[in-house]
């Protein structure tokens, strides 16, 4: 398997928009053509090789080495291949993506996997806000796919998501699962406030106690069957979701009653 390597040679002084750095656009291009692809340094139109050394060609496997924390829209709408980043990465990573895999060995910015349709994103460090969310004004966030963040995440994680799974290892900030319409949000490290606010459907699972919105109804402890299924699925991804009633149980809360919604929020108690 051939891999295209991009190594940061020049740090952008203002944000760099590089939606062309994506397996779909690299797949059929020669090394020269990849180097010449257009990126936007603020308002300036530049070439990929103004900022990166490029090694390799014609492949849908890309590795980026170095700090790309100021580089936005990497892997935008990608449908295939892999994008591996060794370093921090900027906003809108994998936004609108349809398939393929993105792996980040570092931290990531806001809007990761925003409005994605399918695919897999794994951030080994911390992430920003609005993961898998809907862009402003849009009614639908991610439609399917999986996003895993090992570290913490920012506000509005999974905002208006329809389907798919988001797992965050560390603590998330306010409004996780805001206006959620479906899918699963797993919070291994708990959350700050307003989790599940205005949700209509979907499932939020928290392994740490969280502060609930006053408009959620508590219906007592239970270990639903589907948790076994989730646990098995997530186990394959290296995530340990408890479901054994000998070690504890989930308290189920429903809401948000202000909508009124039929979302479910499970909080683990060992």
């Amino acid at each position: 398997m051939s891999v295209i390597h991009l190594v940061v040679k020049e740090q952008p002084s203002v944000p760099l928009e590089a939606e062309c750095i994506s397996p779909d656009s690299f797949a059929e291009l020669s090394n020269d053509e990849i180097r010449a692809l257009r990126v936007y340094h603020g308002k300036r139109q530049c070439r990929v090789d103004d900022f990166f050394d490029v090694d390799g060609e014609k492949s849908d496997h890309i590795q980026i080495h170095g700090d790309v924390g100021r580089v936005r829209w990497l892997g935008r709408a990608m449908t295939r291949g892999t994008l591996q980043i060794y370093g921090d990465v900027g906003m809108h990573l994998g936004a609108y993506m349809k398939n393929g895999r993105i792996e980040v060995h570092g931290n990531a910015g806001d809007w990761i996997g925003a409005e994605m349709k399918n695919g897999f994103v794994h951030i080994h460090g911390d992430a920003g806000g609005q993961i898998g969310a809907a862009y402003r004004g849009s009614l639908r966030g991610m439609k399917n796919g999986t996003i895993i963040v090992d570290g913490t995440a920012g506000i509005e994680v999974g905002m208006r998501m329809r389907r798919g799974t988001i797992v965050v290892g560390g603590k998330v900030r306010d409004f996780a699962g805001l206006q959620m319409k479906g899918g699963t949000l797993v919070l291994l490290g708990g959350a700050e406030i307003r989790t599940g606010a205005w949700m209509t459907r979907g499932t939020i699972i928290s392994l740490k106690p969280i502060q609930l919105m006053p408009t959620f109804r508590t219906s007592g402890p239970m270990n639903p069957m589907f948790m076994n299924v989730y646990a098995r699925q997530l186990g394959k991804l290296g995530i340990d979701l408890p479901f054994d009633r000998r070690s504890g149980s989930y308290i189920r809360h429903c809401g948000d009653m202000s909508i009124p919604g039929k979302g479910e929020l499970f909080v683990w108690q060992s």
Partner: protein, 301 residues
Amino acid sequence: MYWGGNPAECHPRHFTKYTLMQKSKFLPRGRKDRTMALVDIRATKSAKAADIFLQVRPGKDFEMITILRAMVKGESIPESQIAETGLSLETLEDLVARMKAAKFGAIFFGMGLSMTRGKHMNSAALLTLAAEMNAFTKFVAMPMRGHGNVTGADVIMRWQTGYPFGISFNRGYPRYNPGEFSTVDVLVRGDCDAAFIIGADPGATMPQPAIDHLAAIPTICLDPHVTHTSKLAKVHITTAPAGIAAPGTGYRMDEIPLPLKPALNSPYPSDEEVVRRINQAIAKMPDWMPEGEPPMVLSQV
């Protein structure tokens, strides 16, 4: 209803000119025909004007509005949950009853709501509550805009670019993303490499990292005074104060434009003239966009 605002001290004529005191065709007794509720984290001067004052615990506005949304629809919320907001079930039941009984309800919300934790979602919550109230009676909601002509900026940006604020023209056409293109975020991250500041003094009001970035890049400042921003700026130009010595138009918070009638002649040029001359000077320079190669449109997929 006023929420998170203190009109008695910040918009002193709001009560007399627009909301409480005016006698009108359908409310001939003026103040007597009206009920005012105030929601805030402390009893400001405005509380004296109110029939009901509801003291919400700081940072609990979003929860309180969401409870109201549920109660308006007949959902019952446990007293213990309501107590978290600093209010009682009885108080909120009374409020909901009064809201439903009103012939025409209006909610004005201030920065105590829109600039505290939750920010735009707090405003969204109140706007949604007002919308949902229309299932029972007529209800509207409006932000209490602060200084001067901030409404005009909002309105003009909307008709010229489609968006109210937080806009990027980096690709030659307007794009919008608050958080990404909004000024505090841009400055704190150090995204921009020059700044043009007009009719504002971020050097006095913004977080320190933002101010530090403004000082580090070429900042241009237009103001009738030499401000904190002017002092850290590369270039300051003194201009005539709008509405006092410069003519033009200003928008009221309800998006009604009004003519500005200056009483003084300023020795300084107007903002309009200076910005136009900067535009003309830039127009003489070679265009930044390479000819024949327009930027790619980054549209929704």
